[in-house]
């Protein structure tokens, strides 16, 4: 049989153009539904379970190479590393002892002041299975999912600072959006002077932007930004980024401030998922002003219905 037939003696179904129109319309419909609503998450989960074994299979070569390189690490290097770690451990132990003293002092002070105790956030470790293969996005896939009680919205940190936030949870995997993802916002506070702001991802690894800070604000290169904990999503006082460049142009109302994330956003394999965030009390409703009585009345009526 020849594929280059022009005459249509046999019925081969709808023409390519009809198929193109049909499948394009279907794709666009799915795109619209997926972008606007959350109806398709369950379908996505089912498909994700089907392809999960194959995804693990593709991650296998990298893991094998990793374990082989660990196996062949020379003894001298291990010894060196061991000595280094022991030294680090001694230093850390000293600091930890201080920390324990300070903590006990702090708890006492808190009891004295009858303050609610800050929650000690439970953490669980997770490993990066693979980084996102889409260069548009800054995302990671980690090996803990809803089976390990991971919930979307939890914060992922490494030993230097905030890496990102869990944005989608599958049964055995979850997707982490990095703080450097385009327009990902983190509420922060300057460690030096307590100034509050919001830092945005720029879509570029190793770069974040601090927007809407006035030219005269007290910011210096090298300032460390920590989470402020104001949004109720990020626990307070986790390091996020460091200011690397400030451009103050008096022609613009805002300074252009570039920051670099502190966490090894593209460096590590093991990460921590911080869970058990404190539930903040509900935000009080905005009080209706007196010059809009009709709108307030309408809203009340709607609520009664």
């Amino acid at each position: 049989m020849d594929d280059t037939r022009t005459l249509r003696f046999f019925n081969r179904g709808p023409s390519p153009v009809a198929r193109l129109v049909f499948f394009c319309a279907l794709s666009l419909l799915l795109l619209f539904v997926d972008a606007r609503y959350q109806y398709l998450e369950s379908t996505r989960n089912v498909l994700a379970v089907i392809i999960y074994p194959f995804q693990r299979l593709t991650a296998l070569p990298g893991e094998v190479v990793g374990s082989i390189s660990v196996y062949f690490e020379t003894q001298s290097r291990l010894q060196e590393e061991n000595a280094q770690l022991r030294q680090q451990h001694d230093a850390d132990a000293a600091q930890l002892a201080q920390l324990a003293a300070i903590q006990s002092e702090n708890t006492q002070l808190r009891i004295l002041q009858e303050l609610k105790e800050r929650v000690d956030y439970p953490m669980q470790t997770a490993e990066i299975v693979y980084v996102e293969r889409d260069i548009f996005k800054r995302k990671l896939i980690i090996n803990k999912g809803s089976q390990a009680n991971v919930v979307a919205g939890q914060v992922v940190v490494d030993d230097f600072g905030v890496v990102g936030q869990v944005t989608r949870v599958y049964p055995w995997l979850s997707e982490v959006t990095l703080v450097t993802d385009k327009d990902h916002a983190v509420p922060i506070q300057f460690l030096r002077n307590g100034l509050r702001a919001v830092v945005f991802g720029s879509g570029d690894i190793g770069e974040m932007a601090l927007r809407y800070m006035s030219v005269s604000s007290d910011i210096e290169v090298g300032d460390v930004l920590v989470t402020s904990g104001i949004d109720g999503t990020y626990p307070p006082n986790l390091p996020v980024a460091k200011v690397v460049k400030i451009e103050r142009d008096p022609a613009y109302p805002f300074a252009r401030i570039t920051c670099a994330p502190l966490a090894g956003v593209d460096r590590h394999r093991a990460l921590l998922i911080v869970s058990g965030l404190p539930k903040l009390p509900e935000r009080p409703e905005t009080v209706e002003t007196k010059d809009e009585p009709e709108r307030a009345k309408k809203r009340l009526n709607r609520r009664k219905q």
Binding site: D3, F23, L30, L47, R133, D134, F136
Partner: protein, 173 residues
Amino acid sequence: MIANNGPRDQEFLLPANTGFIVFSLFVAVMLNWLPWHGWALVLRPDFVALVLLYWCTHKPHRIGIGIAWVVGIFADVADASLFGQHALAYTVLAFGGIVLHRRVQMFELRQQALHVLPLLLLSYAAYAVVHWQVRGYIAWEYFLGAVVSALLWVPMTLLLQAMRRPRHDPNEL
């Protein structure tokens, strides 16, 4: 069956059985899912698009727009992109391949690659436009992948043709 591969390439190929088509697509999907990152990710050719395009130009009545769409949906789940994003791109690609399949087969391999490049660019553009509409920006280096894919057209076609060639000489008695 004699595949009509132009005057200088009249060779005997085994009929492509469904198993082989599915296997080639499966291998391509696996290659796409390897943990690429950094520059390798930017330059990564879209193996699935290439294999789909190969089958669309060589066996347009076996592999069509519908199958391309289904493969795209699985790619969407694996890449956590919006549902229909890859599907749309592969649909456009398959349509281009089917419409141009007679024309592409007229040429020799290197010239075929020049025909494949605009098709791949079109498909990449479909993906990027959706992203632009939803997220508001385009990463231009993304299109490098289409160029690398087009460069891989010749070796990939040679490989698939070689695998479809019979083991024994058919003229041998």
